[in-house]
């Protein structure tokens, strides 16, 4: 019996099969305006931007170790870019989506400088405070509608319905799939190792020469930009924006729920979590407040007994990785080892 030389693998059979299926799904979604009904397109749009938000929170909390409960601040700010850049300056709403990412990333610089002086629970609470401050600033700015909010129908009105719906879907796809792939490639890059090291132990990472601060900054700014872009897209579909709707804690609660039940710190987790969230919502949303109680109950059960989420359960039982970010050594006595 000869022992072949061990090799380092960065892909799995599932990931190869997964990428084929993934490409097919992407192609199907791009073509959705030609085969799907508008109601299904709407749902796809919602699913994709929710996935983008969840991936952003997962990047922040799952990898960067930054537990934020204030991401709604960036969602709202992105939404309000539509009012300033679209309603007041007359830009095309779809062009505003990437611009909203730039604006929120710029705003995140001073807030980040403030927040990174704090740790743990203080950091979490302060992210919420920052979001509330942003909400109150907007609510007291009469030129963007103040506390009354405003309709942004005018910015979207000239665009023919088919193009409006299709472009919204394609941008949503770019955000949802883009966020997933961006996290994936980030984690496979050199910075990914640093990020995972910071996730597992800040002190250990620092002692190995990882610049923890720089990693946190990257993650925080990327997440702010992602949430801002999603926010702009969300309010293109809602058509009406008001401070309490734009800066609603619901956005962060949704991200939190999806990542917790899907599996925090995995790329597949938010996808699975978002699917579960939408299935629950479609099945239960007609039950009013009972639905919220069920969602809350599910989240508590997961946090107590399944802290690694559905995907954590599946991947540990079945060794299934669609987005492998680990390095595995193969052919060591036919066993495998993970780095």
């Amino acid at each position: 019996m000869t022992i072949s030389a061990p090799t380092v693998e960065r892909s799995t059979r599932a990931s190869l099969a997964g990428s084929v299926v993934g490409l097919a799904v992407l192609a199907a979604i791009i073509a959705a305006p030609w085969w799907a009904e508008r109601a299904s397109q709407r749902l796809l749009i919602e699913f994709l931007y929710t996935l983008a938000l969840a991936q952003m929170w997962n990047l922040l909390a799952g990898y960067g170790g930054l537990l934020s409960v204030g991401q709604q601040g960036f969602v709202g700010l992105g939404g309000y870019c539509l009012v300033v850049l679209g309603l007041q300056m007359g830009l095309n709403p779809f062009l505003i989506v990437p611009l909203a990412g730039v604006v929120t990333a710029i705003v995140a610089v001073p807030t980040g400088a403030l927040l990174f002086r704090l740790r743990g629970a203080y950091f979490a609470v302060s992210t919420w405070v920052v979001a509330e401050v942003l909400r109150l600033l907007v609510a007291n700015t009469a030129s963007v509608g103040g506390g009354s909010g405003t309709s942004i129908t005018q910015t979207v009105r000239g665009i023919p319905a088919w193009w409006r719906e299709s472009t919204t879907l394609w941008i949503a796809l770019a955000l949802g799939a883009g966020a997933t792939l961006a996290v994936y490639f980030l984690l496979r890059s050199r910075h990914g190792l640093a990020l995972t090291a910071v996730r597992d132990s800040e002190a250990a990472a620092e002692s190995l020469g990882v610049s923890v601060d720089r990693v946190k900054w990257y993650v925080y700014l990327a997440s702010a930009a992602g949430c801002g872009m999603a926010g702009a897209l969300i309010f293109i579909t809602k058509l009406r924006i008001a401070p309490e709707a734009a800066f609603s804690l619901d956005w962060t609660a949704t991200m939190f729920f999806i990542v917790i039940i899907g599996g925090i710190g995995t790329i597949e987790g938010p996808i699975v979590g978002a699917l579960i969230y939408f299935v629950l919502r479609e099945l239960l949303s007609d039950y009013g407040s009972g639905y919220m109680i069920v969602l809350g109950g599910v989240a508590v059960v997961f946090m107590l007994w399944i802290p690694r989420g559905v995907w954590g359960l599946i991947s540990s039982r079945l060794d299934l990785h669609f987005f492998p970010v680990q390095r595995r050594v193969r052919n060591l006595d036919d066993k495998e080892m993970r780095s």
Binding site: A14, E37, R38, A39, S40, R42, L43, E46, F47, L87, L136, A139, N140, A142, G146, G147, S148, G149, T150, S151, T153, Q154, V156, R157, A161, T237, K238, L239, R240, A242, E244, A245, S248, D250, V272, L275, F278, V279, E282, L283, D286, G288, S289, I314, R317, L318, D319, L320
Partner: protein, 426 residues
């Protein structure tokens, strides 16, 4: 090796099961489409959340409508069954927009109706306007609805119609009410930073210019962020300026806080006329004896001399039927919910066919005597808006608890005055 296969099987099953479950619930089921002989009316209403009190008459009203429309309605010579698709806005404008979009895209309703504050009517109408679906709304003063959606008084909207009173009416009713009693004419304002508060306090379109013109002095400390639990600063300011009249448009919990703290801090205005907060019997009962003498605008009451175009019942009969069926006292939204369906059904009956354009044209030509008064979209202050009459009322203690009695009718003399307006006896 065999182990490997089992694992693969497990994976496949998991992936299949997840995919199947997701596809099953997320893709629209082809069998939910309406039968060709059914007209679908979509209805969005805040059944849960802070605005839920507005939706209390929903179940009763829908029950009445189903009874009245059991035989279907005739459109263009063909009889159709009528189906109602009801969605909860959760008192949230995001959810209201989603619910409307679902009604339009998934349920494919022929017409959307909605009511209860700008947080419901504005997002609902915006979705309908952009998607080209006929829409009728009410129960939001017309300025926050029309201007709050960026409406242009010259062109108006294409698909969305609204009927209710406006700020000019409520200002007229309030000032006429206050003119009935001798006071120093100093008015303290409680306007929150929301759609209503900003519209009422607006320096050009709101209370300030009219009050100045009519000789009232306004003490306005600016917009507060609702929900608010401390009104000490407002009360101190009102006391300092010797305010005798308090007005505002604020949610019941905020007003309850203000009114309790005013009592504790010895602030005793002669007149308190607060919209929204004191419109509902349930909220008013909770103030206890301090509810006696509070005044408010009245958009509908059992003494209003109107009757339903659909069922023929009078205002008094509708109120009595509601109390009998639910055990609850009448509230103003009851008739407005009813009238929403009156206008929708009337338009459908007059429509040439079920094309959205035909239904829209029929709504535009509406000239109907409803349970809340005449509705005519051609005569509005701006396009797409019709105004309904407004009077003033005061809560008076009776043997059965507090009752809202009409005490002022200068803008709508057809509504009979039942009692005299009195100073609050503290």
């Amino acid at each position: 090796m065999s182990n490997q296969f089992e694992v693969d099987n497990g994976r496949r099953n998991v992936v299949k099961a997840l995919g199947g479950l997701a596809a099953g619930t997320l893709l629209p089921a082809p069998w939910v489409h309406a039968a060709p002989n059914t007209i679908k009316i979509g209805y969005v209403s805040p059944q849960t959340g802070p605005l839920a009190v507005f939706a209390e008459p929903d179940a009763f009203t829908l029950g009445e409508m189903k009874k009245a429309l059991a035989g279907g309605i005739k459109v263009g010579g063909k009889t159709y069954a009528v189906e109602f698709v009801v969605k909860d806005s959760q008192s949230n404008s995001n959810r209201a927009a989603d619910a409307t979009s679902e009604l339009i895209l998934k349920d494919k309703v022929n017409i959307v109706v909605a009511g209860s504050t700008p947080a419901t009517t504005n997002p609902v109408a915006d979705q309908c306007e952009l998607n080209g679906v006929p829409c009728v709304t009410n129960d939001t003063p017309w300025q926050p609805h029309f201007f709050g959606r960026g409406g242009n008084p010259k062109t108006g909207f294409e698909w969305t119609y609204h009927f209710f009173w406006g700020l000019e009416d409520v200002i007229g009713v309030f000032t006429s009410l206050w003119g009935q009693l001798p006071t120093n004419k100093v008015v303290g304002a409680l306007f929150p930073n929301d759609s209503d508060g900003n519209a009422w306090g607006d320096a050009k379109l709101g209370f300030p210019p009219v009050l100045a013109q009519k000789g009232f002095k306004l003490v306005d400390k600016g917009r507060f962020q609702s929900p608010a639990d401390d009104f000490s600063a407002y009360i101190a300011e009102f006391k300092k300026n010797n305010v005798e009249i308090v007005t505002g448009v604020l949610p019941p919990p905020d007003f309850a806080n203000f009114w309790a703290q005013a009592g504790q801090q010895g602030f005793k205005p002669k007149i308190v006329t607060a919209a929204k907060a004191t419109e509902f019997p349930a909220a008013v009962q909770s103030f206890g004896p301090r509810a006696n003498g509070l005044s408010v605008e009245v958009w509908w009451s059992p003494v209003h001399p109107f009757s339903s175009s659909l069922t023929g019942v009078s205002s008094a009969q509708l109120a009595a039927a509601y109390t009998q069926a639910t055990g609850r006292p009448w509230a103003m939204p009851l008739a407005f919910k009813h009238s929403l369906f009156e206008v929708a059904i009337d338009a459908l009956k007059r429509a040439a066919d079920l094309k959205p354009e035909s239904i829209r044209n029929a709504i535009r030509d509406t000239n109907l005597n409803t349970i809340v008064g005449p509705v005519n979209f051609r005569k509005g202050p701006v396009p797409n808006v019709a105004k309904t009459p407004l009077v003033g009322g005061q809560w008076k203690k009776t043997a059965k608890g507090f009752e809202l009695v009409v005490v002022e009718n200068s803008l709508a003399p057809a509504v009979p005055v039942k009692d005299k307006f009195e100073v609050i006896k503290a």
